[in-house]
Point group: C2
Chain length 385, copies 2
């Protein structure tokens, strides 16, 4: 398969299984991408990530631009040579981080100027610079430079911003020189259906190897977010991968996969692991809770990860209390495996035409009798409820 | 082989290779024991430790007594059931930690009273209590309760202390009930040859599965320490393992193995790794040094560890600068592998009757032309220089 030519291999309602070829291997969707902000998924060896089924790692352009700098990463052969993960990488454009880390100094047509959180330097990021940095980093999948407006934003701002993001997409594409990187466009429009539709349709005027749904999971409710996902995947072409940026809660993955989303990323599984919590089908276990100190069972019965196969909740709770790195490591490993098992289960269910059953079984354990309306609605829109 | 019946399988000068059977497997000496203070070698999975050749892990009775408590560890099946390392464990007596952590409140014939660094509680540790705690923890090798006096200490204090330690050894032995744990006695006497000899000879009146050389590497110079090691191994029986406590610098291992020491432990390789340094044949690389950011070679050319096989100094230096956990993990892994390769190289050299060559080759890289006298003297005493 030629790089980036996405192929849907199975469908159930609006959910689908697909193959996305990249220069560093073909990956199967839906999939969750662990975040390696500074070129390392915190606490985990690349071989551990491979073992638990990670397929693509995400690195943050903002962080790597500041340290160690794009030219240094290029000199080591890009992320693949630098960071020990030989499979596909995805880099974001840096835009979101500039805004979310709050060091933004100026935003205008040209781009953004921000202050480095490391040394206070003023740094400019433009579509051209973002692409140049992403070309130096060398990821397989790269992102157009966009603005992700805060939530809530006035409608007029959202509108002006999404139009600028479209002009930035055009500049990003013009700046791009490497044929071995696939550039995704990013749709915006906040939670306004008209603006979201406008942004999506205008972005689709560019024929790209994939499209990302941006500007969501930034503070709005699930009731506001999922109609935007539904609207987006209804407009996006079947034969292109859809990437819902920054989403990583298990229930969000199940709802979004039902609507035909293929790619996800989020710091949630690793961050919540470092904070001492384990993802389980019922939600989240806080290992700081004293009752876990006595428990001999694994984090999650039936989980095949190294943490669950070899350690008890009691031991991991002891590590968390004692501030031992190994606690964060085992929880991060399990939490990522939890999300990978979730997408693997979804793939099997889609292939067997039983995604509705899969989602219902998930919801029963996650929510009990009170399955929230936003979840049922998303699944119903996807043709599964 | 019956547990703890040590067998010397090869000799070169005073250096030797031996087999030490324990209930959780026979280990080959000389060996270095990674320290898992709170039941975890910081940042490393048990399978990573197995892969790099770790054979025995050490856990600290002081820490585990305070948290999670011996009864909780016992309820999980002791350290073997609790902490995911199924091979042999060794626990110290807690005495050294009480003194070195500086929370000591009282020391008398009965034992010590110290203040918990966790909650301020006053806790008593006696020979009987130390053994009871170590029996609950369930390590294969346990240590008699001793006092490790600070350096320097007045001769009169050293003398009174070592005599009390001998009485504590007797009480430790009387308190011991589990036949599946081997108890080592600990010799003291500071750097006073007469007292060191006295302590060793008196300790030898107890027929034990092994003997530890205690009270060294606590601040004295190498010139003061190695004559004590020499004197000790000359007195200790050939058919018992000798354990030099708290020693982990590579040059110290090479000198001490030459004198017939079999077991070592130290936090040095993991602690120095967490602080950003790598052990190499020439000494130590500080990865915080800017020049390493550009270096594409591994931490140590020819090292077979996962860190050296997959990552450059440049990447690891980036991780260290960025405060990424993975930096500490990769450095700890390499540093432990460095010491394990050192003892493995020593074993091969002893078997082939060329320990002198081994020590000279080590010294040439480590010290260049100026091999310190204490090192040459130790090697000469061992019959290798």
């Amino acid at each position: 398969m030629s790089p980036f030519r996405f192929q849907v291999t199975a469908r159930a309602g609006r959910a689908r299984v697909g193959l996305l070829p990249t220069p560093h291997g073909t990956v199967e969707t839906p999939l969750f991408m662990p975040v390696g902000t500074q070129g390392s998924v915190k606490g985990l060896l690349p071989r551990d990530l491979k073992e638990i089924g990670s397929q693509v790692l995400l690195a943050n352009t903002y962080h790597l631009l500041l340290r160690p700098g794009p030219e240094r990463v290029r000199a080591f052969g890009g992320l693949h040579g630098f960071a020990g993960w030989k499979g596909p990488w995805l880099t974001d454009s840096g835009g979101f981080q500039v805004m979310s880390l709050g060091h933004l100094r100026r935003i205008d047509e040209r781009g953004v100027v921000f202050q480095s959180h490391l040394n206070g330097d003023l740094v400019e990021l433009t579509p051209e610079r973002s692409i140049a940095v992403q070309e130096a980093l060398g990821a397989d999948l790269i992102m157009a430079f966009d603005e992700c407006p805060p939530y809530p934003s006035p409608r007029e701002y959202l509108k002006a911003s999404l139009e600028r993001t479209l002009r930035w997409l055009e500049r990003s594409l013009k700046a791009k020189t490497r044929p071995d990187q696939g550039l995704f466009g990013i749709t915006q429009g906040g939670t306004d259906p008209t603006l979201r539709r406008l942004s999506t349709l205008e972005t689709l005027r560019f024929d790209l190897p994939g499209y990302a749904i941006g500007g969501l999971a930034v503070g709005e409710s699930k009731e506001e977010m999922f109609p935007m996902v539904e609207l987006s995947t209804a407009l996006l072409p079947e034969e292109r991968p859809r990437y819902l940026m920054g989403v990583g809660h298990p229930e969000d993955l199940v709802a979004a996969m039902g609507l035909g989303v293929d790619l996800f990323d989020c710091v949630y599984p690793t961050r919540t692991g470092r904070f001492g919590s384990a993802l389980v089908p019922e939600g989240r276990l806080n290992l700081k809770n004293a009752r876990h100190l006595e428990e001999k069972e694994p984090l999650e019965e039936g989980c095949d990860c190294y943490a669950c196969q070899n350690f008890s909740r009691g031991y991991i709770a002891h590590l968390v209390r004692s501030g031992e790195m190994l606690g964060a490591i085992l929880l991060s490993l399990h939490n990522l495996r939890f999300l990978h098992r979730l997408t693997e289960g979804a793939k099997a269910a889609i292939r067997e035409g039983r995604y509705g059953d899969f989602a219902r079984a998930f919801a029963e354990r996650r929510f009990g009798r009170e399955v929230p309306l936003w979840f049922r609605e998303a699944l119903a829109s996807g043709g599964h409820w």
